[in-house]
Each structure stands twice: as structure tokens, then as C-alpha cells.
């Protein structure tokens, strides 16, 4: 059995050096996250509070969104509601069109990615410039992000050097990241200055103040919004937090989980339009309210898009973001894809070894692996489980209900050249096909966990 994921993963693994680099680099990011989170003794309590706050806010969305709207309007912002991607794109277009905007600068927004805003605007003759360095590289290469926080993690410096040589006139053969970053700084500085409108995503929308909060390391969101006077921000309904006290909980975890920094360089609170300027805020549903009705999967709405579940995922690290068919890869992407359109995105469900590492690192306690396990059982109902997958489901259920057997099978794994039967049928096989390295570490995650090697 080979899914779209396993085929794409095999391709990714053909470039062995690059694949090994990808794996090691993301693991390094994961380790940085471990170091930082270990320095916070109340880390687990933070996770509990973050999860509880999200469960509260996502079960009071009607009240909180209306509160946000009221406060944002009182601050002088324009507030719009978009049911779906189409409405969102049209709202953005109409704002830009009414202001005669032809040059538009954007900071990173997964929502814009989800709703395919850039192609929509470009088709209507508006030039969109991505200002996050990674996003800009990909935009110039006509590629999509392969990670939600580290969008260009699959691109090598030589590729960037060649691209910038063509696009920004950098020296031939100079692949130094500092040199290239500063060339982009200079190039984009002009774009910021000449843009007629700036758009940001939103990390958090605070109901009690009506402000949107944007976190970046580069300062690109702030460079954009401090030049042109027209600012647009959009957020999915689950980005709402009740107040600044709650916000503090998430801000303490976001960067520590994402990149192993104590906080992002900039945490900006946009409450009012600039003097003589305009602030337009779009609240977007696009399928999120349907997830609320799905109690088994409701915690997927907790996600603050930190990317930690990707960095830790053994499958993601070794197969790359492009091997998933949904635009968000990794454990959270598997789940969000299934919640969006299961018949369309079910291939990704196989991209999981059920090691549960994602569930353990997630700062807001999204039960990622548990949900993937549920999806696997549901594949049957969807008519998407072939005979092999049925064996897999049955096998997994057997194992998961018997932790000793599961652990034993894992501990045997390194010694045997052939994988234990249940793993052959869980989709790991397809993913691991292209690899020459042994499939199992000498110690399983569980063993390492017990010995305190993994925290």
C-alpha cells in the first residue's frame, strides 16, 4: 500500500544528504525547545492553563467575537466577517480596490495561505510582496511553505544565492546567509516604503481590548504597518483570547515551543489605526465553526501554530513538508486536513508512527496523536480503508490497548531487520521505504522518556 504521502516521501528521501540535514536541523530546533521549556518549572501548569483557556474561549466564541468586534469598532477599526475563503479574499480585494492599491506588502499569514489570497489578488492585478524572508524566498521561487514557522526549511543556501543573484543582483557564488539576508533587507526596505497597504496575520485577537497581536522575529509586520497608512489584519475565529492576562500564558509558550527562544523579538499590539490611517480587521470562519461540533476533535482549535509538533515528528522530519497533501504538514496538518475534507486528505493519516511525541510537546495540549488514531479507525467508515489498512487498524487497536505488547514490539524493533508486523501495516512502511538508515533508534522514545533523556 502506498499513499500519496509515502510516494512523495520517497522522492524527498532520494536526496539523502538534504534529507539527513532536514531531519537533524529540525531535531536541533526541537532540542532548543526542550532546553527553554525546562528552564520554566511551571511549564506543565502553563500547558494546562493554555489548554483550559482555549477550551473556554472556543466554547464562548459567540460572546468573545462580539466583544472583540465592539471594542475594535470603538478603537476606530473597521470589522468584517467572512464565512469562507472566497468572502475573505473578496473583502481584502474590495478594501484594496477602493483605495486604489496596486502595491501591497504582507507579513506571514497561514490564513492567507489557507484561503489562497495571493493568487486571487494577483489575478486582479495587485502586486503582493511577502516580507518574511522565508516567505519571500518561496514567493520568488513560486513555491509553497513546507513548514508553518520555518517556511523555507527545505531550501539550501546555494538556491537562495542563485535566486538573489537573479532577483536582487547579489554577487555570484556568495551564499553566505548574513550577506543574503542583508541583501533582502535592503531590497525589501524599498518595498515597504513604496507599498500602499500592509497586511498582517494575527497570532492572537484580544476580546477585552479589541486589539490584534502579531509576533515576529524579523520585524516585518511592523515595518509594513508603520509605512503605508492602510492596514489590514485577518484572523480565524479560534485566534480569540479573552484578555491580556490570558494572552500572557500563550506568549510565554509560543516562541519557546516554536524556535526555542524565550519570546519573539517583536510582540506587537495593534489597537487603533495610525493617525490619519485605517485599520481593517477581518474575522474568518472558513469551516472552523464546524469543528466545534466535533467534540472528539475540538482541541484541534487550540492550535497556536507554533510548529513544535512538526519539529518533533519523526515522520515529518524525514519526509518533508511537501509530502503531505494538505497545506499545513505534520501532525496538526494531518488533523486539520481531515477536519477540512477527509476524502481529500486521508492520505496524510498514514504519515504517523503513533509515537505521541507531538501530543507531549504541544503547548496547548492538542491531542494530536490521539486524534490521528481516531481518524485511522474512521477511515473504514469513509470507505477509505483497504484490506491492508483494516489489518493495520485492527493491529494498532490491539497494540494500543496492550501497552506492554506495544513497548515490547518497539524494543525489539532495533534488533530485527524486519519491522514488526503491526508497523508494516501502519503506513510507516510506505514512508520508510526509501530509507537506508535503520528505521529505529537504538532506544525507543518511550525508553528514552523513562530514562529522562527526553523531557
Amino acid at each position: 500500500m502506498s499513499t500519496k504521502h509515502s510516494k512523495a516521501a520517497a522522492e524527498f528521501l532520494e536526496n539523502k544528504k538534504q534529507a539527513a540535514w532536514h531531519d537533524e536541523t529540525l531535531w536541533m530546533v526541537r532540542e532548543k525547545r526542550d532546553q527553554l521549556s525546562k528552564k520554566v518549572p511551571e511549564w506543565e501548569e502553563l500547558r494546562n492553563m493554555a489548554c483550559a483557556t482555549k477550551l473556554y474561549s472556543n466554547s464562548h466564541l459567540d460572546e468573545l467575537l462580539v466583544e472583540f468586534e465592539r471594542n475594535a469598532r470603538a478603537n476606530g477599526a473597521h470589522v468584517y466577517w467572512a464565512k469562507d475563503a472566497d468572502e475573505y479574499c473578496n473583502i481584502v480585494y474590495n478594501i484594496l480596490n477602493q483605495h486604489g492599491v496596486k502595491h501591497f506588502i504582507k507579513s506571514k499569514s497561514m490564513l492567507a495561505e489557507e484561503c489562497e489570497l495571493n493568487p486571487f489578488l494577483q489575478n486582479k492585478g495587485i502586486e503582493v510582496v511577502e516580507s518574511d524572508l522565508g516567505e519571500r524566498i518561496l514567493q520568488l521561487m513560486h513555491l509553497k511553505p513546507s513548514h508553518i514557522v520555518l517556511p523555507a526549511i527545505h531550501i539550501k543556501r546555494e538556491q537562495v544565492g542563485e535566486l538573489f543573484e537573479k532577483e536582487m543582483g547579489t554577487e555570484k557564488g556568495n551564499y553566505d546567509p548574513t550577506y543574503l539576508t542583508h541583501a533582502a533587507r535592503k531590497n525589501l526596505r524599498q518595498r515597504f516604503i513604496h507599498a500602499q497597504a500592509a497586511m498582517t496575520g494575527t497570532n492572537f485577537a484580544v476580546a477585552s481590548t479589541g486589539e490584534v497581536v502579531v509576533c515576529t522575529n524579523e520585524g516585518n509586520a511592523d515595518m509594513g504597518t508603520s509605512q503605508p497608512k492602510l492596514q489590514i489584519a485577518a484572523f480565524g475565529i479560534e485566534k480569540i483570547v479573552p484578555d491580556r492576562e490570558s494572552l500572557g500564558v500563550f506568549i510565554r509558550m509560543l516562541a519557546r515551543s516554536a524556535t526555542g527562544q524565550p519570546v519573539t523579538t517583536y510582540t506587537s499590539h495593534y489597537r487603533k489605526p495610525r493617525e490619519g490611517g485605517e485599520l481593517h480587521i477581518i474575522i474568518v470562519d472558513n469551516g472552523r465553526s464546524n469543528i466545534l461540533a466535533n467534540p472528539k476533535h475540538i482541541k484541534a482549535l487550540n492550535c497556536i501554530r507554533c510548529g513544535a509538533c512538526m519539529n518533533t515528528c519523526p515522520v515529518y522530519r524525514r519526509s518533508g513538508g511537501y509530502s503531505y497533501t494538505y497545506f499545513i504538514p505534520g501532525p496538526i496538518g494531518i488533523n486539520l486536513g481531515m477536519l477540512k475534507a477527509p476524502l481529500h486528505y486521508h492520505d496524510n493519516v498514514s504519515a504517523c508512527s503513533l509515537c505521541y511525541s507531538c501530543s507531549l510537546v504541544c503547548p496547548v495540549k492538542v491531542d494530536l496523536a490521539e486524534q490521528i488514531y481516531l481518524w485511522r479507525q474512521d477511515l473504514d467508515k469513509l470507505g477509505k480503508a483497504n484490506c491492508m489498512k483494516k489489518v493495520m487498524s485492527g493491529g494498532m487497536k490491539f497494540m494500543m490497548n496492550r501497552p506492554q505488547v506495544f513497548n515490547m514490539a518497539l524494543s525489539w524493533a532495533p534488533q530485527v531487520n524486519k519491522m514488526p508486523r503491526f508497523l508494516i501495516y501502519n503506513g510507516l512502511n510506505g514512508w520508510g521505504k526509501g530509507r537506508e538508515m535503520p528505521n529505529f533508534a537504538d532506544e525507543s522514545f518511550n525508553e528514552m522518556w523513562k530514562k529522562g533523556k527526553v523531557k
Binding site: T25, S59, P151, I153, T181, I237, R252, T265, E275, S289
Partner: protein
């Protein structure tokens, strides 16, 4: 029906179970705190790629600048005691004029010991100055350093301009092969001068 009503109705229909708002007090009570917040702030500023220095009084910033930024030609500040400033961002009509600023001197409100973030409540007409200057000096009262973000969020506000930002060290990126580079779009260097 408007999209607004549609979305709100969908939400109401889909919400089965209401969860209580958690009490954050027990968490805040045990949150990271430091016997010497100043010392920790110095340490963490280094970690985030910036630097903290002590000044005896705020006027000393002029000396500090002439000693440490001899090459700075364009110095922007709206603080009246920064006498070496060559430009006042309050009097700039178009923020693009601030491009090419070598150094900006701005005022911070609250510093956070756990992460080196300093809260800037916009107090200047062109907020671009916080981001566009090549180098940044943030002046901060050394008694205004709190332990963690829980404490900070109880004290901050966005003021009359309706904007504020926590700045923790210089602008940075690792988007090219995870190699850390300072100076992506914002300031390449950040010094917090504690008074």
C-alpha cells in the same frame, strides 16, 4: 442573513459544551521569578542578542552615544534630554523619511526578566522609528523590571496612539538554513540602557 449572523449562529449551534474560564492566579503565583531581576535581565539580554547597560542618569545617554556610536550621523529621538538627536520623529510627516536613521533613542516602560522583552508604548507620532533605525537604544527605569509576562501584562497599555510592542533584542531571522542572522528588517542592534 449577513455573514456575521451566519457565523455566530453556526457557532451557537455547534457549541455543545461550555468550559469555565480557568483561574490563572495559582499559575501566576508559582511563575518564574528571580532573586535579582536586574542580574537576570542582563543575562537574558545577551541571550536574545542584545545588551543591557547601566547609566547613572538619563542625560548620560548623550555621552554613551558619542562614546559607543561615533559613526552615527542620523540620530532620531523625541526625548528632550537626548540633545545629540538630529531628527525628531514627531515632526516627520512621512515615515519613509526615517529610512537611513543610524540610531534611535526611545523610552521603554517595563522590562521583563524572563525574556528580555521591553514594553514600548507608542509615544511618538511615527512608530516606524522603533523598527526602521539601524540601531536602537531603549531607555528603561531599572526599577521597572518585572519577573515574567504575567506581571508585565498587568501593567502595560497601548496609550493614546493605540499601539505598543514588546521588543526583545535585535531583529533576527534564521530563514536561510537556520543560520541566525541579526538585522532582518528591524534594528540590527538593541541596547537597553537602564537608569
Amino acid at each position: 442573513m449577513s455573514s456575521r449572523e451566519d457565523i455566530l449562529q453556526n457557532i451557537r449551534r455547534a457549541t455543545y459544551m461550555k468550559y469555565e474560564k480557568p483561574d490563572l492566579k495559582p499559575l501566576e503565583d508559582v511563575a518564574l521569578s528571580y532573586p535579582d531581576r536586574l542580574e537576570q535581565f542582563f543575562l537574558v539580554m545577551k541571550q536574545v542578542g542584545g545588551e543591557a547597560v547601566l547609566l547613572a542618569k538619563r542625560e548620560d545617554v548623550n555621552d554613551f552615544i558619542s562614546r559607543n556610536y561615533p559613526e552615527a550621523m542620523r540620530v532620531a529621538s523625541n526625548l528632550e534630554f537626548v540633545t545629540c538627536a538630529t531628527c525628531n520623529p514627531d515632526r516627520v510627516e512621512d515615515p519613509s523619511e526615517l529610512d537611513g536613521t543610524d540610531l534611535a533613542v526611545i523610552a521603554g516602560k517595563i522590562g521583563v526578566a524572563e525574556n528580555g522583552a521591553v514594553w514600548i508604548e507608542q509615544d511618538v507620532k511615527q512608530r516606524a522609528i522603533y523598527f526602521i533605525a539601524e540601531k536602537l537604544i531603549i531607555l528603561l527605569d531599572r526599577n521597572h523590571i518585572v519577573n515574567n509576562m504575567h506581571e508585565a501584562y498587568k501593567l502595560i497599555d497601548t496609550g493614546k496612539y493605540g499601539f505598543g510592542t514588546f521588543i526583545s533584542g535585535p531583529s533576527k531571522t534564521a530563514d536561510i538554513e537556520q543560520a541566525l542572522v541579526m538585522g532582518a528588517h528591524g534594528s540590527r542592534s538593541v541596547v537597553v540602557a537602564l537608569i
